[in-house]
Amino acid sequence: MKRIGGFFGDSFYRFGSIVLFVLAWQTLCSTGLAPGTFVASPAVIAETLAKWAVNGFLARHGLISLSRALYGFLLAVAVGVPLGFLLGGWFKAAGRILDPLLKFLGQFNPFALFSVFMLIFGLGETSKVAMIFWVSLWPILHNASLGVRTVDPLFVKLARSLGLSRPRILWRIVVPSSAPYLFSGLRQASGTAFFMLIPAEMLGAARGLGWLIINAQINYQIPQLYAGTAIIVAIGLAIDALFRFLEGQVVRWREKAAV
C-alpha cells in the first residue's frame, strides 16, 4: 500500500478516522439528533472522566480492576509457561495424552465456572482472580507447548553435539525459538483477561470498573455508563498496544539473533 510520508500523513491515517468519528458524534449530540437520554456526547464523557479523575474514583476502581487482571494473568504465566514447556518438550507422551484434555478444559465457558468460583471462593478477590487465571491460562499453556514443539530439532541436536548443557540449550535455543508463539499466547491471554474481567465484575463484585458499569446501568446514569465504557476501551487498547510492542521487541531481537 502506498504510504503518504511525513508526520502529517502518518497521523492523518492513524487518528483521522477517530477524530472524525468523535466530531460527528459531538455534532449529532449538540444538534439534538442523538437524544441525551441514551447517548452521552464526548464532551459529557470527558467531563465525567475529569470529575472521576479529580475525586479519585477512577484511580480506585481502575486500579482494583487492573490488579485483578494482573494477578490472574501473572498466575497464569507462572503456571502456564513452565507447564507448557514441560508438556511440549520434556514429557512429550504426557503432552500428547493430556492435549485433548487441555483443549477440552480451555473451551469451558468461564461464566458457567464463575458461579462455581463464587461458590467456592466467595465474593472476595479470589473468585475474580481465579476466573482471570482460568481464561488466561489456556492460550498461554497452548502456545508455550506449541512453541516448544516447533523448535527445529536440528538446532537442538547441533547444540547437543557441541556439548551444551541442558539448561543452556533451554535458554539459548528453546526459549528464543518459541518466543514468538509465547508472546502471541501472552497477547491473546492479556486481551481475554481484561475482556472477561468486566462481565465477571458485573456479576459479582463491589468495586472495579465492571461494578462501575453495572452501577451506572442499574441507576441509568448514561454519562457514567459511557465514561466507564470509554475507560475500558482505552485500557483494552493500551494493553493490546503494550503486548504488541513487547512482541515486536522480541521478534526483532530474535531475527537479529538468528542471522
Binding site: 487518528f15 468519528f21 497452548h142 514468538p180 459511557y226 476501551v233 521478534v251
Partner: protein, 337 residues
C-alpha cells in the same frame, strides 16, 4: 480475548508466527510434530469425570460446595423434566445462531468492500475499527435496550457485535493471504473482474471467514451466558443464576455441565463443517488425519442444526409463558413482582 485482538492472530495458530516474521523452520517443525488425533483423546476427560465422582463418593469433596458428578447430572435431568432445560439450551443456541447470521451479513460484505475494493478507505478507517472492536458491548447493554427494546433484539445485537469483529478481521486476513498470482492467472485466462471475485477471492477467503466465525461464535457464547445471568428471563445462564440465587448447588453444576457440553458440541460441529466444506484448505482441521465428512453427512448435520434452531426460535418467542407455565414448579419460575 477481545474480538478484534482474537481475529488479528489468525485462529489457525500455524500462520501467526510466520506472519510475525518467523522463519520457515517454524513451519517445517510444525508439520512434523503436530499431534495426531487418536481415540484415546476421550479417555482422559472421561478419567477426569470418573475421578470427580470417586472423590465425592469417598467424601473427600464437601458436597456443600462440590457435589458429585452423579448428583449434578441428576439435577440436570430434573431440570430437563421440570424446567424445560432443553428448551433453554435451544433458546441459547438460537440466540447465538441469529447473532452469527447478523454478524456474517454485516461483517463479510464490509470486509470485502474495504479490503478488496477500497484499500485506501480501509487504511483510513482501520484505527477507528480497532477502537470499535475493543468496545465490550455488554457494558452498553442498557443503550442497546433503549434502541432495540427489552426483547430479544437487544441481546442478539450485543452478541452480533461481539461476533462481528473476529469475522470482519478474519475476512480481511483471508483477503490479505490471497495469492496475487492466482488472481492474475485467472485474469490471464480471460476471467472478468466479477468471476475473479466469485471464483478466486471468495473461495480463497472463505476458510478465514469461517475461522473468524468460529472465534465469533465462541466469544458470543461466552458473553451470552454472562448476559443471560444478569438480564434474561430464559436461557442456560439464567438457569445457573437462578440456581445460585437459591443456593441449589447441584443445579449450578448441572446447568454448568450442560453449558460446557453445549459449547464443546458447538465447536465440534463447526470443526466438522469446516472439514467438510473447505476441502481445498492447505492446513488446519482437515489435516489431522480424520476422514472428511461426505455430502450426505454434511446435509444431515445442517438439517439437524436447522431443526434445533427452529425449536429455539419457538422457545424464544414463548420464553415468558414457558417459565410461568403452571407445570413448572414455583422455584423455577421467573420472579414476577
Amino acid at each position: 480475548m477481545t474480538p478484534a485482538a482474537a481475529s488479528r492472530t489468525p485462529p489457525s495458530k500455524n500462520i501467526a508466527p510466520v506472519a510475525l516474521g518467523g522463519k520457515a523452520t517454524a513451519q517445517r517443525g510444525m508439520r512434523m510434530t503436530l499431534p495426531r488425533r487418536s481415540p484415546t483423546r476421550f479417555l482422559v476427560p472421561a478419567a477426569m469425570l470418573a475421578l470427580w465422582e470417586t472423590l465425592s463418593r469417598l467424601g473427600l469433596l464437601d458436597p456443600q460446595f462440590v457435589p458429585g458428578l452423579a448428583d449434578s447430572l441428576a439435577a440436570a435431568l430434573d431440570m430437563t423434566r421440570r424446567a424445560f432445560l432443553l428448551t433453554h439450551a435451544m433458546v441459547s443456541l438460537a440466540r447465538v445462531a441469529l447473532a452469527l447470521g447478523l454478524a456474517l451479513l454485516a461483517g463479510v460484505p464490509l470486509a470485502f468492500s474495504l479490503g478488496h475494493a477500497w484499500p485506501g478507505a480501509f487504511r483510513f478507517l482501520e484505527p477507528l475499527l480497532r477502537v470499535l472492536g475493543q468496545i465490550n458491548p455488554y457494558c452498553l447493554f442498557p443503550v442497546f435496550v433503549v434502541v432495540f427494546g427489552l426483547g430479544e433484539a437487544a441481546k442478539i445485537s450485543v452478541l452480533a457485535w461481539v461476533a462481528l469483529w473476529p469475522i470482519f478481521f478474519g475476512t480481511l486476513a483471508g483477503l490479505g493471504d490471497l495469492d496475487p498470482v492466482l488472481a492474475r492467472a485467472a485474469r490471464g485466462m480471460g476471467a472478468g473482474k466479477a468471476s475473479v471475485f466469485l471464483k478466486v477471492a471468495i473461495p480463497a477467503a472463505s476458510p478465514s471467514i469461517f475461522a473468524g466465525a468460529r472465534t465469533g461464535v465462541q466469544m458470543a457464547f461466552f458473553i451470552l451466558i454472562a448476559a443471560e445471568m444478569t438480564g434474561a428471563t430464559a436461557g442456560l445462564g439464567w438457569l445457573v443464576h437462578n440456581a445460585g440465587a437459591m443456593f441449589q448447588v447441584p443445579r449450578i453444576y448441572g446447568a454448568g455441565l450442560v453449558i460446557v457440553a453445549l459449547g464443546l458440541g458447538l465447536n465440534r460441529f463447526l470443526v466438522f463443517l469446516d472439514r467438510g466444506l473447505f476441502f481445498w484448505r492447505a492446513s488446519g482441521p482437515g489435516q489431522d488425519g480424520l476422514p472428511r465428512p461426505g455430502p450426505l453427512a454434511l446435509a444431515l448435520a445442517l438439517a439437524a442444526a436447522l431443526i434445533v434452531l427452529a425449536i429455539g426460535l419457538i422457545g424464544m418467542a414463548r420464553a415468558e409463558s414457558l417459565l410461568n407455565d403452571p407445570s413448572v414448579v414455583p422455584e423455577y419460575r421467573v420472579w414476577t413482582e
